[in-house]
Symmetry: C2
Subunit: 270 residues, 2 copies
Amino acid sequence: MQSEQQYLSQYDPSQFEHPSVTVDILIFTVKDRKLHLLLIRRNEHPFMGKWAIPGGFLRMDESADEAAARRIREETGVENIHLEQLYTFSSVDRDPRTRVLSIAYLATVPYGRLRFQAGEGADEAGLFAVDGVSGESVTARPEKELSAAAGGLRLTGAENEVITGDDLAFDHEKIIRTAVQRMRGKLGYTDLAFGFLEDPSAFTLTELRIVHEAILGRQLDIGNFRRTIKREYEAAGRIRERGLEKGGVGRPAMLYSFDNASMRDLTAPF
Amino acid sequence: MQSEQQYLSQYDPSQFEHPSVTVDILIFTVKDRKLHLLLIRRNEHPFMGKWAIPGGFLRMDESADEAAARRIREETGVENIHLEQLYTFSSVDRDPRTRVLSIAYLATVPYGRLRFQAGEGADEAGLFAVDGVSGESVTARPEKELSAAAGGLRLTGAENEVITGDDLAFDHEKIIRTAVQRMRGKLGYTDLAFGFLEDPSAFTLTELRIVHEAILGRQLDIGNFRRTIKREYEAAGRIRERGLEKGGVGRPAMLYSFDNASMRDLTAPF
DNA sequence: AGAATAGTGTCTTTCAGACAATATATG
DNA sequence: CATATATTGTCTGAAAGACACTATTCT
């Protein structure tokens, strides 16, 4: 009988064929009261010239979480932002090169911290406003066919350039739709919105509301929003008053601070 | 300049090292008013003798969804059951053999349809009642360390055999906890519970409530449960009355039918 | 004063939880 | 009738949504 030691020393991982694994990161931010997504234009085959979600191959010495954090650092210079796993896309034919799995991550970045860096291949990067993901098409499985019409994703870039699913590489339209739906769904019972604040230690409730409105794609009642947030967060001691805002037009707002370390993740469930 | 055709024909997928990818399936069922999980005892290294979530390597010609469906068919003889992706576990050291990613799936199977088949390696299989997953530890990221104490997972098998995290292979304790939490979280706003009904075209509201209670691990108020279900499902035409139950003790219950095809999945979001 | 923004209060409806009461079967 | 199960109803308090009102700043 073999011991576990012996077994491990003789194990040959190359006896089976393995798929490639990439990590793709949906980098979201809020700018001009709207939800935006960072895409890069591919300058290589396949899908040369199309827009794509930034990503890269998973290295053998890093977990998917680590790979996602590394790629977002390389792509945007940003560190320590909120990052959560979204879904693993695995259709056999999703990449024409060979079998490629994609573990998709969702990142929330304050706009002020975003720096577009010329990527490795000097890719062109673009921020696109996300409109027209149907509010309720909460019904489909990500990997099943989502009719492009229903839910019609619209992305609006600089100089009002509008792109649609056809201008995206791979199955990235499907991935973007899944991500937007997930964000909307989780907004209400997670701390997702705080990841977009420029300064979580000094923000106004109006700023927080604007983040919520950008994600949901609709206006919220000012009074009801304040009441709800205060009940959920201030009563529990998770946000605190930090004195009045300085400068600006109109009545100065109360500043609040949120302890980023207390961010609830809720990645898998719910 | 190379055409896309040329590029693809010259692409060599073996230029990088690739991780192995497995699909693990958490097969849940409801038996004796309790949530149960199917585990198999490993008869090979590594973790020989420990209990594990059934799974297998992803083949190059199948998606992860297909692999999960295939494995559950092989393991239990069951087809056409509800299956959803849970999370992809990717820690570098989670498998001592080599780098192995696991895409975890969650399956909901009516107890009456479960058939234990002697697996490929004639593994011993066991159904374990799931107790003592802390109701609220909704705070952690699945891949981060979850203190084994908090949430203390307890699995009770045949003849009251109790096993804990130490008796499980790999990081499977973490995966099981993630799955149970996810089920609880999604129970309220998805159709998850219907996947456990022996006959979705003829069930009573009491049967449906027992499924909810098993998943949540606590009793529910009978009247309030009925009211809520009827509002959510009967008003929307998603369940229908199908006449009275026959036989049994006490007042016969109304039978309802649920159209399985209308199952809302909500895999990724929410 | 007027414009702009922040913040409070009130009314109504919806809904969840606790719990009581009624209905219909079997033995 | 007793027992068991199913089904309906009632009361209360919490919370969401619509909307009106007040407060504080700047120009």
